[in-house]
Amino acid sequence: MLNNGKIGAYPFMVLVTMFIVGDALLYVPAWLASAAKQDAWIAALLCMAEGALLAILYNAVAKRFYPATIVEMSGIAFGKWAGAAVALFFIIFIVIDISFLLMETGDFVTTQMMPDMPVEVILILFSGIAVSAARRGVQTMSRSAESLFPWFVALYVIFVLFISPQIKLSRIEPVFHAGFIPVLHGSFKYLGNMEEVVILLMLFPFVKLPERGTKALFLGVLLGNFILSAFTAITILVMGSTLTTMFSYPSYALAQKISIGDFFQRIEAIMAFMWFITVFIKIAVCYFAASFGIAQLLKLPDYRIVTLPLGMITIVLGLQLVPNRPYFNQFASLFWTPYTLTFGQLLPLLLLGVALLRKSVGKEERV
């Protein structure tokens, strides 16, 4: 087998949580607020429900086909050639996702922290770390996630605690003033982010006990969404929807507002680490998923030989995919969700449908 060690349920849950929070922490408040205005927090809650449903779907697929990854699943369900084509598209989807994630990191650092720094340098450094994490395998990644998780939680709690004195309840009034449509619209953008969880199905076979793995996936999705929802609510409560929509990175602007007693302030750069932690885990997981998928597809003896070239490809692809910031914004809000729906919703549904129609499929794999 290609794998290198199994992981427990708790590390997997942490991995799922941090994967969901990932890059979304910086963007989600603005996405939700741009459509749902002061009702963004309702949209976030709605997304929590959507997330739970998605998790149930993924769990059903993962359990049915255990211990197959998505790449193997499509081979089983759609046959050799069609399955390979589906798997190829799925891998391309992950690669594109990595490129965007890298560019988001690069954009963030060059916009908010080091404007004169060439974005390529950030991409190379960041993908270098993520690739090296992916090369060390699932167990190492999940352990590093496990050890980084307390730091993330600590930073998050400090952030929320220290910004909460500035909360103004009047910022979310009037509740539900424009009805349900804007709320739905807002949650639609967020959905695109959540669909990416399907990538984690590449890692699911590494979980020791599938029964507990499904539980971990479900809980991880809920926890991740809760972190994002609470964060969105706080952003709206402190800054109001107008400013939240205006800033490219509302959470960073929010961190700039932290000021306790006029001396505990200007700590936004520390707060940014919270985001670096989660996005690092997300990118590393994606690198692993993509290279492992390629290895399975091409029947390579070791996935590691793919990781380094993949790292180089994603850097260049990222630079090509995102020529400028408005392009990225438009892409993220118009195309990303429909694109992810293909793989995050349609593909699992198809897999499950085929499995149900041909009852034997999937079952016999469990030897």
């Binding site: 922290m113 404007p115 720094m117 450094l125 270098g128 003033h177 107008t242 400013l243 700039q256 507002k257």
Partner: protein, 401 residues
């Protein structure tokens, strides 16, 4: 295996080489000029940008103003068609790169505020070095350049003085309101509310003031003087001190303030408000906006300059009544001025309607400018006097005449 080691080694060398050169966008302290305040005036078609910078080596030293080799700050100014160009052109004067992360205040000259702030504010939201929590201040009757170029006693850094006295007078006198950049932008963008900024004027002789600061009583001083009323981003006019304090009450900016009330036959008692909470609510009644202001304050007797008998609870109740009347009067005046003179909804009554009565607000929001001047305002004040200070009855009562 050897090959892989070699590859790893080469990579390591590259990474180390990249990392050890330091980071991009670094700012060494001896290459930075830390800007503490910026002033912006309009000069014809161009802007005059004045920046006040710390003089390294002087700031922080005791007696930096009078003793030693120089002043704690330096102000340079530059004219340019846009703000950013002005700031960059300043490097032809300053030996160091200007560093903006520690700005205390952004001062707008009356001239630029009258024409509208829209063209000068964007930069301060967009630039990554500037935090959205810097304070905005207006000048009244002087230019921002003049404000930026006087030294101030007590505080060595004039820009820090501006910020501190803005905050302290908001806390203990309630005639000023410290507005931060992001708050101003919110007021500007939200429907049903017009922004305000506190005004700063100069008292005394500005020429003499610039020359020296060697007298115990400085020849002139910077003084906060009332609140500037905006319509969108354009300055319309000013509220006087009393109206500004009324405004603070309505918008719940009062922490602590004092006011005198008539007492007995000729004479005053001063009431100190310790805490005050304002609640605004509103709805449309028969298509006309009705705003309800509810204020709950707790207060002490601060000073007695009359013979009233403080040992009787009735006196306290009378004081409460007259304090309520004084406050209501103060608020009525500012509402009157905003509704009839400026026709600008600086209180955010429209926003209150939007929050509390969103359905009806939708119908009138396009015509809010016509509705606002005739909006009915109900004021309910509840002042509770608690204590009378270190002494009970004043000695004034026992004096023979």
């Amino acid at each position: 295996m050897k090959k892989r080691r070699m590859l790893g080694f080469v990579l390591l060398v590259i990474v180390v080489a990249v990392l050890t050169t330091g980071c991009w966008s670094r700012g060494e302290l001896n290459n930075l000029a830390i800007v503490t305040g910026i002033g912006i005036d309009k000069m014809g078609d161009e802007y005059l940008i004045s920046t006040q910078m710390l003089n390294p080596g002087q700031a922080g030293e005791p007696g930096g103003v009078s003793g030693g080799s120089g002043l704690s700050v330096t102000t340079e100014y530059m004219q340019a068609p846009t703000v950013l160009e002005g700031i960059r052109r300043l490097t032809t004067v300053t030996p160091r790169r200007l560093y903006f992360a520690h700005i205390n205040v952004l001062v707008f000259g009356e001239s630029v505020a009258r024409e509208g702030l829209r063209d000068v504010l964007d930069l301060f939201m967009r630039d990554q070095e500037i935090r959205p929590d810097l304070h905005l201040v207006l000048t009244k009757g002087v230019t921002a350049k003049d404000v930026m170029s006087v030294m101030t006693p007590i505080e060595q850094i004039p820009a820090a003085k501006l910020l501190k006295s803005l905050n302290i007078s908001e806390k203990s006198w309630a005639s000023t309101i410290g507005i931060k950049l992001d708050e101003y932008i919110i007021d500007l963008m939200n429907e049903g509310k017009e922004p305000i900024l506190t005004g700063l004027k100069f008292q005394g002789n500005i020429r003499q003031m610039k020359k020296d600061l060697k007298s115990v009583m400085p020849p002139g001083k910077l003084k906060y003087a009332g609140i500037g009323v905006f319509k969108e981003d354009k300055l319309l006019g000013w509220l006087n001190e009393e109206e500004s304090r009324g405004f603070s009450y309505i918008t719940d900016h009062v922490d602590n303030t004092v006011a005198h009330i008539p007492c007995g036959r000729g004479g005053n008692a001063v009431i100190e408000i310790l805490r005050s909470k304002t609640k605004l609510s509103g709805k449309l009644v028969d298509g006309e906006p009705v705003i309800k202001i509810e204020i709950k304050s707790e207060a002490n007797v601060g000073e007695m300059a009359c013979k009233a008998d403080l040992s009787k609870p009735k006196t306290i109740y009378d004081f409460e009544k007259s304090m309520e009347r004084v406050n209501e009067d103060m608020m009525r005046k500012v509402i009157q001025k905003a509704q009839k003179v400026y026709e600008s909804d600086i209180f955010g009554f429209g926003e209150v309607l939007f929050r509390k009565d969103p359905k009806n607000w939708k119908a009138i929001k396009e015509h809010w400018d016509e509705y606002f001047p005739r909006a009915k305002v109900e004021i309910h004040i509840d002042v509770k006097l608690r204590r009378t200070g270190k002494i009970g009855n004043s000695f004034i009562g026992t004096l023979k005449k």
